[in-house]
Symmetry: C2
Subunit: 397 residues, 2 copies
């Protein structure tokens, strides 16, 4: 606790005494480039998984009302009944069949939903299969449990990204407990087809594995309908599937740290206990905002998705015309994941684009095997800003 | 995902497939009596660790300002610099020496601070010593890591509660990694003296153990000065001590889920990574409320502590005069932990007091070994309400 400059020996002593999975938890590769860019200033940061729109006023007002009403006490670990019922209504509307409130559990972020579902399923020393490129935090949370994330690269070819089912099957062994599937994918925009979902589910059934289905980007879907295909469409009640989701993307609430789990009601007490021993619940006044987002936020989501689609088209057009960028137009989510011919070091290229284009992109290495040569551009912004950013990138390239 | 009544076989199948520490995580013994009481209605609930005062307006207004300013985006994993600096100022005022902002890490509740500090220190298969009776959640979080909580009962005699240092020393073995000390204690009100702290620290140094110091109730201290004795008073910079704390009690912010860790700056990147892979940070607009609580909340804390002291004196007086209640007046925290002569089943007695006195207390068994025959009464309320509740209890007894 000294304020004096710290002797290196002391640092070593304290960190060496830590539990190994904590000491070895990886630093986020996205945070590194953000620190680089922020230190320079004046950079349009398209590196993070969020846009530039603050939470809309009608949602904020619900939180204000909750605070004014004194909703500042301990609350239900599983989430307030109003929010669990709103989640059931939302899913019933979106997935075309009935859901009940006791299938839903409110969590302190989608990240916490992943942490809890992994703590339910991935034993120490077990293996968790993660098709990559993928958002790195699921692998980070896996390692912290003392389990091993097993990255299985997806295929990137002329037809776009594809799940390598043979390689996934080959990666399964006696230690495998979980497959984490992010669909639509952050960062690639690949989205599992119904056939893909059936194939992954068949593997899970055959080997008795759990699936952690991260369907965060289900609404940011550029195919037919209001949302991407989902395991909810094809599963049986007794399938070992846990869903993680978040308020962050659909309703511009990244900073709120509020998400949810969908799980069979028979698992309710276990989910409640795991919430109890991690953050013990989510602020009631924040949950009021969640109710309003779900019940009254549909027009807002539609606008956000339309804007993302317009920005996606602009980004694909401008970067496509450089002749140097290789990518497949994303089917879902709000990222363009691309390589640049002749550029093999994505971290170096990301720093160069910060310096010369004043645009911040996330280097692909942050997303694991198969992403090393790529860059991720978040296009959840005003189309004209995306046009400006992409034109600056194109000039540098 | 079926809505149909669920076949028992299915329940068994899904829960049986869970990771054992998750499946076996204990249900909170406090929640059980709360459910019992709430089902009956009209009960004054003194079972939880919170009072009846909502968060004061000046703190709520800071959150509203943050929301209105659009502080709804991702933020620093370690906490916003303003809040870390406010924490340093607060500790500098309270502990009479200089602290710097890089010793502080904002967490999504004191509970999460415990989860993170245990994930830093308690390896799978290791043992964590917890003097009991103690707030049960630290043991719950220990079990979820795959470590074993080892309860070491404190002594309760005519001189009050006392740490059993010989028994703690005897419980240390090759697997021991951590001692969790809650001082002032929830539920007993026992507070470690400077000598106690020196003795525990000596044991930790001798065996290379970590101490997780839960000083949540430091301000609710009925001895001399503005706060209880602390490891911060006696430690060396290289001691393996991690502090967990919360905004919940001092500023009536239980529902906000915001706390902090104090740890050596050399551990900063590890703490940041563990925050990243659990909830990735705390809402910026909530952190604004934390800044105001720390910088402008001192008068409020003083009033809360004075009110708790008055309520404590009333509870001790009325229950003491029954002639059947045994307790020692708490030195700290805001609980009266007492036995009733001739009543050995605290859960049964708690239910009887719900039914006959319409007062809800927490059964002592929820707090582990040594607490089985006790009841915990939270007196963080208006003294006249505590008088009323205690008179009703006295009449039943």
């Amino acid at each position: 606790m000294s304020l004096a400059p710290e002797p290196p020996a002391l640092t070593g002593t304290l960190t060496a005494a830590l539990r190994a999975p904590a000491r070895e938890a990886p630093v986020s590769g996205i945070v590194e480039i953000m620190k680089y860019g922020r230190a320079r200033g004046g950079v349009m940061g398209l590196w993070a998984g969020e846009g530039d729109t603050p939470t809309p006023a009608f949602i904020i007002e619900a939180a204000n009302r909750g605070l004014a009403a004194g909703e500042t006490f301990y609350t239900w670990q599983r989430g307030i009944p109003d929010l669990r019922e709103a989640l059931a209504r939302y899913h019933t509307r979106l997935y075309g069949r009935a859901f009940s409130a006791d299938e839903f559990y409110v969590t302190g972020s989608g990240m916490q939903a992943i942490q809890i579902t992994l703590a339910m399923t991935a034993t120490e020393g077990s293996e968790v299969i993660i098709p990559t490129p993928a958002w790195p935090n699921a692998a980070g949370a896996t390692g912290l449990i003392g389990a091993r994330p097993v990255e299985v690269p997806m295929q990137f070819g002329n037809a776009g990204w594809a799940l390598d089912l043979e390689r996934i099957a080959a990666a399964i062994n006696d230690r495998t407990r979980v497959i984490i599937l992010v669909t639509p994918s952050n960062p690639t925009g690949w989205t599992a087809s119904r056939d893909d979902l059936h194939a992954v589910l068949a593997l899970a059934r055959q080997h008795g594995l759990w699936i952690v289905a991260d369907e965060t980007y289900a609404r940011f879907w550029y195919g037919d309908g209001r949302r991407a295909p989902s395991f909810l469409d094809i599963m049986a009640p007794d399938d070992r599937i846990l869903f993680v989701n978040t308020f962050s993307k659909n309703w511009c609430m990244t900073g709120w740290r509020m998400g949810w789990i969908v799980a069979h009601p028979s698992l309710g007490q276990v989910v409640e206990n795991l919430i109890q021993y991690s953050t013990s619940g989510v602020a009631q006044f924040m949950q009021r905002a969640g109710v309003v987002a779900l019940d009254q936020g549909e027009d807002f989501v539609t606008q956000q998705v339309a804007r993302a689609r317009a920005s996606r088209d602009i980004a694909c057009d401008i970067l496509g015309r450089t002749g140097r960028c290789r990518f497949t137009p994303p089917q879902g989510a709000f990222y363009l994941f691309f390589t640049v011919d002749g550029e093999s070091d994505s971290e170096k290229l990301a720093r160069r684009l910060v310096d010369e284009a004043q645009v911040g992109l996330a280097p692909g290495r942050a997303f694991g095997k198969g992403g090393e040569h790529f860059l991720r551009l978040c296009f959840a912004r005003d189309p004209e800003q995306i046009r400006d950013a992409c034109e600056r990138i194109a000039r540098v390239l």
